[in-house]
């Protein structure tokens, strides 16, 4: 059995997609709410957004991905209003992970991306008594 390690500011976190199913939360609805006005006009409801071709920003390689994720990562997250100082910390951390395509980020990296609070405060937030937006340490899976 793997040893239990207390997460610290270097421990990577990600969004556990299963958590949304287990807690009867609709991730796609949340993703849709996160879209910018332009993308929301393109996809008026989550059901309008199926799979699309994503062009890799470095290699040009094409993969089939959820249009909501693709829009957020390659378009909405690049806009200045995606994470602002006024964005609540819980939302900002969630959005930072969405913007990273749910590739794991440590609290140090999250702090750099949200640009406020501190790495240890973010760790305290994520390790609170309730899991926020399905964000969990990668090791716990």
């Amino acid at each position: 059995m793997a040893p239990i390690v207390r997460p610290d500011i270097k421990t990577p976190f990600h969004i556990d997609l299963e958590w949304f199913k287990e807690n009867s939360r609709d991730l796609r609805a949340i993703l849709h709410e996160t879209l910018c006005d332009e993308c929301r006009a393109r996809y008026p409801t989550p059901a309008d957004a199926g799979a699309v071709d994503r062009v890799h920003p470095q290699t040009g390689e094409v993969t089939r991905v959820d249009a909501l994720w693709e829009s957020i990562v390659d378009h909405c997250a690049l806009k200045p209003g995606f994470i602002t100082p006024a964005t609540p910390l819980t939302t900002a951390v969630f959005r930072a992970l969405l913007a990273n395509g749910n590739q794991p980020l440590s609290c140090e990296q999250l702090h750099e991306r949200v640009g406020k609070s501190s790495a240890s405060a973010i760790l305290k937030l994520l390790m609170g008594s309730e899991i926020e937006n399905g964000i969990v340490p990668v090791e716990s899976k």
């Binding site: 699309v52 062009v55 094409v62």
Partner: protein, 521 residues
């Protein structure tokens, strides 16, 4: 492979070592780490250019998302380490956000399934810029690469060569084990006898002349082999300066040169912030204990320095080897440099050692004793006419009885008195202390070494010294000299402890008085 990956790999591969093996085999003589690095970099740059030129010669177009492609076309993918793939199919792109574009299916030779890439994709993309073609070239000459990556490659190469049994290292030179001429025990016995007969360190080239190795062996190779054999035999030690190995016998080296005398051992001290006045006084004392075991920072060469003798050095027959003293000597990287002291008056020469680890010069016991030098005496070192000679001098004066500070150990305590004593040398007024009772002082020193802090020692010694002065003033240098009778400590450590202790108050000029409020406690 990116340029950074390429340069991280140079010097670490089996192919690199194999190439350098061939290089040394063909060269037939040892090469320095830098020479091997330069050769390797040149070879790797040329090889990489050749490889890239071959790729270009294949005329496969570089994949760019903005271009349109045909089925059956071969493309070069610069973002995937210049891999080649063949277009197997084309379909329409599907992303309302990106507009119209095509998707090509590309089959790479070593992959089971084709991968898809964008085509006729006109949105901004780094591969759509023409600079993407730069990946065809390292864009660096071997000379530029040596300047830019030489140090990193050299470090990686030295690590790799050190772990390989085929390569032998002597100093900074490398050669092949299999090409070394045999230096058998007989040769080494001859070398031992030759050094003993010379009574001094002997250069490798001079030993080689005596040994008469076979004429077929190249001189540089013979020198390398002999150096390697001597360095791996405990009887011999290189005591020469950088670039000129000189061999001496370890059994002829005095114990003070082999191991730092216990009286010179100072506990690590915290470096307190001193006033400019005290900093200046401390700097002029050139005490190696202030180095705190730190690496010596080189200072510009100089020709002369005057030191004030302290009791630990007087006892050990040594002098501090601080950066300004080291600047009188040629640079050396070995643990010891064998030198000759030359008395400035008599011109008599006698052996000495500069000991790197302990930061001291050894070999002065008899010279100090013959001149009856007391702690506080001025000793001058000058650069000699020969690089390995240090001229040593003191400031003699007609012997006469003078009122001086005399130290004794009484009932485990250090006590001072003013007495008339004969002195035949000039000295620093504040530092001079004549030893009245060496055995008693040793007994106090034994106990003082157990003290963890300098503060109680200062509080005990200060009143003893203050009583000798009408105004109760004691100079920081006097305290430093007195503390060193029983406990090794650098001037900065003593002065730092003095400033931090509220029992003492500075009255300027380097003098301190005992704070009356504390004195009564």
């Amino acid at each position: 492979m990116t340029s950074a990956d390429f340069w991280n790999e140079v010097g670490t591969t089996d192919a690199d070592l194999e190439h350098l093996y061939g290089f040394l085999l063909e060269r037939g003589t040892p090469a320095t780490s830098r020479e091997l690095t330069a050769h390797l970099i040149e070879w790797r740059v040329r090889e990489e250019e050749k490889k890239l030129a071959e790729l270009v010669a294949r005329r496969a177009p570089h994949y760019q998302p903005k271009q349109s492609y045909q089925v059956g076309q071969t493309l070069l993918f610069t973002a995937l380490g210049n891999r080649e793939g063949e277009v197997k199919g084309i379909r329409a792109g599907d992303n309302p956000r990106l507009g119209a574009f095509k998707v090509i299916q590309v089959q790479f030779a070593d992959e089971p399934k084709p991968r898809e890439f964008a085509a006729e994709f006109t949105a901004p993309h780094p591969l759509n810029e023409d600079r993407a073609r730069a990946a065809q070239s390292l864009e660096v000459t071997p000379e530029q690469a040596m300047a830019q990556y030489g140090e990193r490659v050299c470090a990686a190469l030295v690590r790799r060569l050190s772990a390989d049994k085929e390569f032998v290292r002597v100093g900074d030179e490398w050669f092949l084990k299999g090409l070394l001429p045999e230096i058998h025990a007989g040769y080494l016995n001859l070398a031992e006898a030759a050094i003993e007969q010379a009574g001094d360190a002997v250069r490798t080239a001079d030993l080689l002349k005596i040994l008469e190795l076979p004429q077929t062996v190249k001189k540089t190779t013979a020198l390398f082999a002999l150096t390697n054999a001597l360095a791996n035999d405990d009887r011999f030690e290189d005591v020469g300066p950088v670039g000129e190995a000189r061999w001496y016998l370890t059994r002829l080296e005095p114990p003070t040169a082999r191991e730092r005398p216990a009286v010179l051992e100072a506990a690590p001290a915290t470096q307190a912030q001193l006033s400019n006045e005290l900093e200046l006084i401390a700097a002029e004392l050139y005490d190696e204990a202030d180095l705190n075991g730190d690496t010596v920072k080189p200072v510009p060469p100089r020709d002369e320095i005057t030191l004030i003798l302290t009791y630990p050095h007087r006892q050990a027959g040594t002098l501090p080897l601080t950066p300004p003293v080291r600047a009188l000597l040629p640079n050396f990287a070995q643990p010891r440099l064998k030198i000759n002291f030359q008395d400035a008056t008599t011109q008599e020469k006698f052996p000495g050692y500069a000991v790197a680890d302990g930061h001291y010069l050894a070999g002065l016991t008899q010279w100090f004793a013959a001149r009856k030098l007391s702690p506080g005496a001025y000793v001058t070192l000058k650069r000699g006419a020969e690089p390995l000679t240090l001229i040593i001098d003191y400031q003699p004066q007609r012997e006469r009885s003078l009122w001086v500070r005399v130290a004794r150990g009484v009932d485990g305590h250090l006590v001072f008195s003013q007495e008339k004593r004969p002195l035949s040398h000039k000295y620093d007024e504040e530092m001079l202390i004549v030893i009245g009772d060496p055995i008693g002082i040793d007994a106090v020193a034994q106990a003082a070494r157990q003290q963890r802090s300098l503060a109680p020692l200062l509080e005990e010694i200060f009143p003893e010294l203050a009583k000798l002065s009408g105004a109760g003033h004691v100079h920081a240098k006097t305290l430093y000299s007195a503390v060193n009778l029983i406990r090794r400590a650098g001037p900065r450590a003593v002065m730092g402890a003095l400033c931090e202790n509220r029992a003492f108050t500075s009255v300027g000029g380097g003098y301190f008085v005992l704070n009356e409020a504390y004195a009564r406690l």
